[in-house]
């Protein structure tokens, strides 16, 4: 019996309908990590993200930056700067830190 299918990746906004590569998957997870970390700080927007990537991941850095910026723009952080340090060994994709601007709410007593 052919059961109901599970569809993903559709209807998620124009920025990510241009085609998919595994850098998009990585970018989505990086953005989730940043958003999770920024949430308690009531960030208004994310300004920059620092990453460390093991060379064995074979990630195309331009692609990753493109998708990360596209996702960030969709989520209200246009122009996010992405700084990637490539480590000669390893398969890690480490989200090191992010710079955020605090929201007005953050200033309220």
């Amino acid at each position: 019996m052919l059961a109901e299918g599970v569809s993903v990746g559709r209807g998620t906004g124009p920025a990510i309908e241009r085609g998919y590569v595994h850098e998009l998957s990585i970018a989505s997870q990086v953005w989730e990590s940043v958003a999770r970390a920024a949430s308690p700080h009531r960030a208004r927007r994310v300004k920059s993200i620092k990453l460390e990537i093991g060379a064995l991941q074979m990630i195309e850095e331009d692609q990753l930056t493109f998708w990360l910026q596209a996702l960030a723009e969709r989520e209200g952080s246009p122009g996010v700067e992405v700084e990637i340090t490539t480590l000669p060994q390893g398969t890690q994709v480490r989200v090191v830190s992010a710079e955020i601007e605090l929201s007005d709410e953050h200033d309220q007593p």
Binding site: M1, L2, A3, E4, G5, V6, S7, V8, G9, R10, E17, G19, Y20, V21, H22, L24, S25, I26, Q29, V30, S33, V34, A37, A38, H41, K47, S48, Q57, M58, T91, Q92, V93, R94, V95, V96, S97, A98, E99, I100, E101, L102, D104, D107
Partner: protein, 222 residues
């Protein structure tokens, strides 16, 4: 006033220090736990478009459907062709994942599909998106990864894709019947595999006739 204060304060750096690959492994482990709790054995069937992944799964389901409660998750960018090809071969449940363009399955997508799966199944084949590159970096949390490669993919296909074949637990060399016609000497890719993944078992198949499929089942201890 607040804007002035913000400008004066400037952006704030937050330390995150999270390894995304480690997060992937956590998600894969969640799937492993899910399978363990239900006594379900699951296999990732990976390989290029046209290598014969669906034909292998269909042939395995035909052989095993009588003594196992078999489920299939077919992963594709679009369409339900592969799920339809497997349907009617003896699987209890066939589920389609359309990634909408994403070039691989990952543990999170599989976990979403598992929520729709009958827990009474004891065997699950997950057909990955046809691709010899991206799926290799994403563990699904299954017992073993089977990589299907066909003779028509050329002499150097294994040498060109070390990550995928380096992650294989079993390699199925399919369409061996046409190797001579496409002028591929199968000893070369097998030699490359010995260098890339020493000791990994290899089974030669023609999944359309069923040649070698019983050996695949045996290699997976099914």
């Amino acid at each position: 006033m607040r804007l002035f204060e913000l400008a004066e304060r400037g952006p704030v750096e937050i330390v995150i220090d999270e390894d995304i690959q480690a997060r992937q492994e956590e998600l894969a482990e969640r799937n492993r736990q899910w399978f363990r709790e239900r006594g379900m054995r699951a296999f990732d069937i990976a390989g290029s478009v046209g290598s014969g992944k669906t034909s292998l799964i269909a042939a395995l389901v035909e052989r095993l459907g009588g003594r196992h409660a078999v489920g299939v998750i077919a992963g594709d960018v679009a369409t339900t062709h592969d799920a339809e090809q497997v349907t009617g071969k003896g699987a209890r449940q066939v589920l389609q994942i359309n990634t909408g363009g994403m070039c691989h399955l990952d543990a999170r997508l599989v976990h979403q599909a598992l929520q729709k799966l009958q827990s009474s199944l004891d065997l699950l084949f997950i057909e990955n998106v046809g691709n010899l590159i991206c799926p290799s970096y994403f563990s699904l949390g299954v017992e073993a990864r089977v990589v299907v490669v066909s003779a028509s993919e050329g002499t150097h296909v294994i040498e060109k894709h070390p990550a995928m074949f380096g992650s294989a637990d079993l390699v199925v060399l399919n369409k061996v019947d046409i190797a001579q016609a496409v002028k591929v000497d199968l000893s070369r890719p097998i030699c490359d595999l010995r260098a890339t993944r020493p000791g990994v078992p290899v089974v030669r198949t023609n999944c359309l006739t069923g040649e070698g499929v019983d050996e695949v089942a045996t290699a997976l201890n099914l």
